[in-house]
């Protein structure tokens, strides 16, 4: 059942449940942060509307910088602003930033421990018709190996706003991952923001599903179906992939024994990678990985892509059954 203590959206499983892109929450948070903190500045590489920095730009034109199609320049300018006391958000598609400008960020932001917030948009195959060039599916992997970086992957637009605001508490580089497409709103304003929270609970669970981003919804749908088949699982939202709340994850795995990870990302180097590294060290457990299986996706509707690339609730159900059958 849905965790009654988290004030989740009661209409979560309704057909008419609200859907919003997580980038909207980011845009709302920027405006709020701009009002609260005069040191917040925003830089965009020719994607102000589609990465939702336009409202901030309109309200705070002096603190908004349009760098044009130049992601390396955007990152390094942000580093210079940050070492001078500003809190820059840099906003582009994740394939370009932190993709194209990876080394620039590594040297000028990460190694300098500069307080820059990197917003990577159009993440995952849910980006859909734009095709694989614009579907960021390796971004968590390339960011996660950077020392000292915080990585947040909000599950819906409300959590996206909270995560963006929360990132200011981390006095150093943060990576925030957002999606283009509308995805179900699972949380409410009252839902607390925590790095790891279990959204679906059950007695004597046979497995725990760790999901991140919008994929959490697919995991919840799978859990609901599995419950009908009397297979009890936990579904846990991992909103912050780094630093990983290791203690919380270990406790859940101790309780459930078997693990499935679910993410809209390559199965290598992302959430599944992070959790298997932890479990390999602390608590070896059978684990199955839902995500892109070492391939690129293609153009298509998100729902079609999820099915074809085996990331939909049906695939999650199969993975749960498989992992439970393993010794």
């Amino acid at each position: 059942m849905l965790n009654p203590y988290l004030h989740l959206n009661p209409k979560i499983f309704d057909k008419e449940a609200e859907q919003k892109p997580t980038r909207d929450g980011f845009g709302d948070a920027l405006v709020e942060l701009g009002e609260k903190n005069k040191n917040v500045v925003v830089l965009t590489a020719d994607l102000s509307e589609s990465t939702r920095t336009d409202a901030f730009a309109k309200k705070f034109p002096d603190r908004f910088f349009e760098v044009g199609v130049a992601e390396q320049n955007m990152a390094a300018i942000a580093a210079g602003l940050a070492v001078s006391g500003k809190i820059p958000f840099i906003s582009s598609y994740a394939t370009f930033s932190p993709g194209k400008n990876w080394e620039t960020i590594r040297t000028t932001i990460i190694y300098n421990n500069a307080n820059v917030k990197i917003a990577g948009h159009h993440s995952g195959i849910v980006t859909g018709p734009d095709g694989a060039t614009h579907q960021a599916t390796e971004d968590i992997a390339i960011v996660r190996s950077w020392p000292g970086v915080q990585i947040m992957v909000p599950c819906d637009s409300i959590e996206a706003k909270k995560a963006t605001i929360e990132s200011l508490k981390h006095k150093g580089p943060s990576y925030l991952r957002f999606t283009r497409d509308k995805t179900p709103v699972m949380t409410t304003e009252k839902t607390p923001f925590k790095p790891v929270q279990t959204f679906w609970t059950s007695e004597s669970p046979k497995a725990v599903i760790f999901a991140t981003g919008h994929m959490l919804y697919h995991a919840l749908l799978a859990a609901k179906e599995l419950e009908k088949a009397k297979i009890n699982v936990l579904v846990t939202n991992v909103a912050q992939i780094k630093p990983l709340d290791e203690k919380a994850i270990i406790e859940l795995v101790k309780k459930a024994g078997k693990v499935v990870t679910v993410e809209d990302h390559q199965v290598m180097g992302g959430l599944g990678g992070a959790i298997s590294e932890l479990l390999g060290r602390e608590l070896p457990a059978p684990i199955e990985f839902i995500g892109l299986q070492d391939t690129f996706a293609e153009s298509g509707k998100p729902v079609e892509l999820m099915k074809k690339y085996k990331m939909d609730p049906t695939a999650i159900i199969s993975a749960v059954k498989k992992v439970i059958s393993r010794k």
């Binding site: 002096d62 760098v67 320049n73 990152a75 580093a79 070492v83 006391g85 040297t107």
Partner: protein, 286 residues
């Protein structure tokens, strides 16, 4: 910036020579590193640290200090020597360059040594970072000035031109860029590796003010900086023509010395030459 009197100029030239000697000694001790660039830029770094910059070596984090951003981090031996000589840290610490537990990393790391404004080495990133500092100064109504030093080779990096376009768009006039035009890079002469000329015309086309100067002539350089500071409507670049390996005969203009240090015998020869040149750098140009 104060006027540069002849007696001060003489002192700066002596300091530049001392800087060259310390560069040779430091590189010999380190056993690796770059020789030509640091020697070529000794006059400019001396001018910065001992005349141009509004700074306080005892307070490297003073918020109102001028910023000097070194984009081509591989010439850091010259910066380290200038910093040591001006009082940021003891000259004896130069011996630790490139060694374990040292604050003097092989390429400069901001977090390791107070007074370094940025981390650099990967090319093409310094101008952008300097722009960020310049924008922050404007937002905070601060009067400090930002200087960035870049190499000619790194003009080949795309990031350089991204930054150049941006600085013109936002009229970043509290930034002065100095390009070390020494015509060499690791693989050879710049015009063979990837022709850059006309560099002046390129920057003019990107709507920058362009000054050209003999980068081994301290007075000429100081005058150019004064002229650059007077330009209000756009950013200014000073293309400083320097001789790589300047002051050491067998290193001058030879790209072989871009990325290697002298051995003991070569260092001895270089130091002997520099010591006899003491105080005569300017007369060479006369």
């Amino acid at each position: 910036m104060q006027e540069l009197h002849d007696d001060k100029l003489k002192k700066l030239e002596e300091t530049a020579n001392k800087t060259r000697q310390l560069i040779i000694e430091t590189l010999l001790e380190a056993g690796s590193g770059h020789s030509a660039g640091p020697l070529g830029m000794a006059d400019i770094f001396t001018a910065f640290y001992f005349h141009i910059l509004n700074h306080d070596p005892k307070k490297p984090d003073w918020p109102d200090r001028d910023r000097l951003v070194l984009s081509n981090g591989h010439i850091c031996p010259v910066r380290y020597v200038s910093m040591a000589l001006s009082g940021y840290f003891p000259v004896s610490e130069l011996k630790t360059l490139r060694k374990i537990n040292s604050r003097l990393q092989g390429h400069p790391h901001r977090g390791s040594l107070p007074g370094l404004e940025t981390t650099s080495g990967p090319l093409g990133e310094g101008i952008s970072q300097a722009i960020g500092m310049a924008l922050a100064a404007k937002l905070d109504n601060k009067k400090y000035h930002i200087y960035a030093v870049a190499s000619d080779g790194e003009q080949e990096e795309g990031n350089t031109w991204e930054a150049v376009m941006f600085a013109a768009k936002y009229k970043v006039n509290n930034l002065t860029l100095v390009i070390d035009r020494n015509n060499i890079q690791i693989d050879g002469f710049t015009e063979n590796v990837m022709p850059l000329e006309s560099l002046k015309a390129k920057y003019e086309a990107f709507n920058w003010e362009v000054l050209e100067v003999d980068g081994n002539n301290i007075r000429a350089f100081v005058d150019a900086v004064g002229e650059a500071r007077a330009v209000f409507e756009k950013p200014t670049v000073i293309i400083a023509h320097t001789i790589p390996g300047k002051g050491v005969d067998f290193m001058e203009n030879d790209f072989i010395w871009h990325g290697k240090p002298p051995n003991a015998e070569e260092a001895k020869k270089a130091l002997a030459e520099l010591r006899t040149l003491q105080g005569k750098i300017q007369s060479e140009h006369a």
